[in-house]
């Protein structure tokens, strides 16, 4: 089985703060992995290292066989392979929804405008928001914006999608529409790494759940095992808090 993502011995410091400790982590092609853990445990740091939004200090990271390091060509290729969806959407507010999808293709792939816009429409249709194509992000609801952000990332034809808490900035009534979009994506076979606290989503689509705490991976298990009979005390404590909360 080829590995979509292969991380070994990953260490990351913020100044003297040790944010990731000897993290080994891998994702197979077509696999869906959910990362969870308490706030400050390093989930964002880990997923952001995967497309080098954070630069790691030690260890190796390979995305579809391409090693991340100082080589800029590799970095370009990795960012081509991996799309990312952020907690706060990070849409470009000065561009219309359609331009948000089209312009990145033009700028980073030199796609012709007509083709970029056609593909933009295509993916906006898939996240069911084509009717808002000419609006600006500020005119949409949070859920709609996040679906646009997903479409924008998909327009680059990534092989892996990284999600960093895609629903935590949303009002409760909008979480469903975004999760539905992600479930559809999973059903289509996309390789996905998702940092989320949505345990329902994890049960429904994840092949594996990774539990992190204090910069370390504490436990990795299939969702059924993880939720029903967690092995580590720390995961157990985390899950019990989730239930009572």
């Amino acid at each position: 089985m080829t590995r979509a993502i292969e991380v070994s011995g990953l260490n990351k410091y913020y100044g003297t703060f040790h944010a990731l400790r000897d993290v080994d982590f891998s994702v197979a092609e077509g696999e869906r992995v959910v990362i969870c853990g308490p706030s400050g445990s390093g989930k964002s740091t880990l997923i952001r290292c995967l497309n080098r939004l954070e630069v790691h200090d030690a260890g190796t990271i390979r995305v579809r066989g391409i090693e991340l390091g100082d080589n800029l060509r590799n970095l370009d290729e990795v960012r081509r392979e991996a799309g990312m969806v952020f907690q706060h959407f990070n849409l470009f507010p000065h561009l219309t929804v359609l331009e948000n999808c089209a312009l990145p293709q033009i700028l980073s792939r030199r796609t012709a405008r007509a083709e970029a816009e056609a593909r933009g429409r295509d993916f906006l249709e898939r996240v069911q928001i084509l009717d808002q194509a000419d609006k600006y992000p500020g005119q949409l609801s949070g859920g709609q914006q996040q679906r646009v952000a997903i479409a924008r990332a998909l327009c680059m034809r990534p092989k892996v999608m990284l999600f960093d808490e895609p629903t935590s900035a949303l009002d409760p009534e909008m979480i469903r529409e975004v999760l539905d979009t992600m479930v559809t994506l999973a059903q289509e076979g996309m390789t996905m790494v998702v940092v989320t606290h949505e345990m329902g989503f994890a049960r429904q689509v994840a092949d594996r759940v990774v539990y992190m705490e204090a910069g370390e991976i504490v436990e990795t298990a299939a969702p059924a095992t993880f939720f029903d009979s967690p092995q580590d005390d720390r995961s157990r404590r985390f899950l019990s808090k989730l239930v009572t909360a």
Partner: protein, 360 residues
Amino acid sequence: MTNNRTNATAQPSTSPSMVSRGVRIFFGSWLSALLTLLSVAIILALIPAFRWAVLDAQWQAGPPELCHGAGACWSFIHAKLRLILFGLYPPEAQWRAFTVIVLIIALVLATLWPRLWGLRIIGLWAVGLAVMLVLMQGGVFGMSYVPTSKWGGLPITLLLAVLSLGLGFPIAVVLALGRRSKLPVARAVSILMIELVRGLPLVGLLFVAAILLPLFLPPDWTIDKLGRTLAALTIFAAAYLAEVIRGGLQGLSGGQVEAAQALGIPYWKTVWHIVLPQAIQKVIPPLTNTAIVMVKNTSLVLIVGVFDILSAARSAATDPAWPAPSTEAYLFVAAIYFIICTAIGWYSQHLEAGVKARSH
């Protein structure tokens, strides 16, 4: 809806008459009473000025003898219009200077149109400026040669304003990015440039550029005085614009650049298409301010003997044939500045309204 509101404020009296409503608007509180009285005083004070400038004024074109009354002598403007607008530029070639004015206005209007923004408008300006320089200088296509020392009036004012802002802007962008750069050298150089220029008065900068610089440069390095003046205005504009743009960059969330990186957009394209448009949108009011100040700053070039519209008007006013016309001359120039600066203000409001409409 408006009815509801007036009713709500008019609770005590059930049917407000016109008179009582008027009293409430103009004398409803101490403050509004004060403002009303002040406004009346200002209007009364302006009546003599209005009579002087309009009612008693001489509007006809003609010789100085026409002006003998107590009013303004607009005949003077008629007589000196060419001198004020074009300075010492040779009269038979003034159609060229006039064409330059028209070209500048046309290009500025084209620039206001967002669809042309980007490389297209830069190309348009490059071609337009080349044409303007050829027109002003002549010496080709059968046009007489006019040295820059003979250039003057409105074309100079407009060219200096537009070019110092236009050339200063890209420099300002580089300085602003440099000041926020992670590279210590880039940061140090940017800070030094910005603070040095902001620490000097513009007059001093102009003086150095126009008068001192040639003393230090080798004699065969003859950069034209107008060119040196423009350079001084440009770096002055750049330093101030840089700080304004830096303010806009600071207001930008880091997520924007991260999103662009994650999408694989190269650095300079991110700056040009994602960062700058947003940073500039955030600072339209202070940018407008700087633009207006720079338009008016061009009048300082008269210190180093560059003949802008204000210098031209001053020299027109010294003609002994006309009885004390400097008020009329200055008012005329002030009106031109007022039109330019008000237009800039209007346009910026229009841009801001557009930004606001897009955000909700």
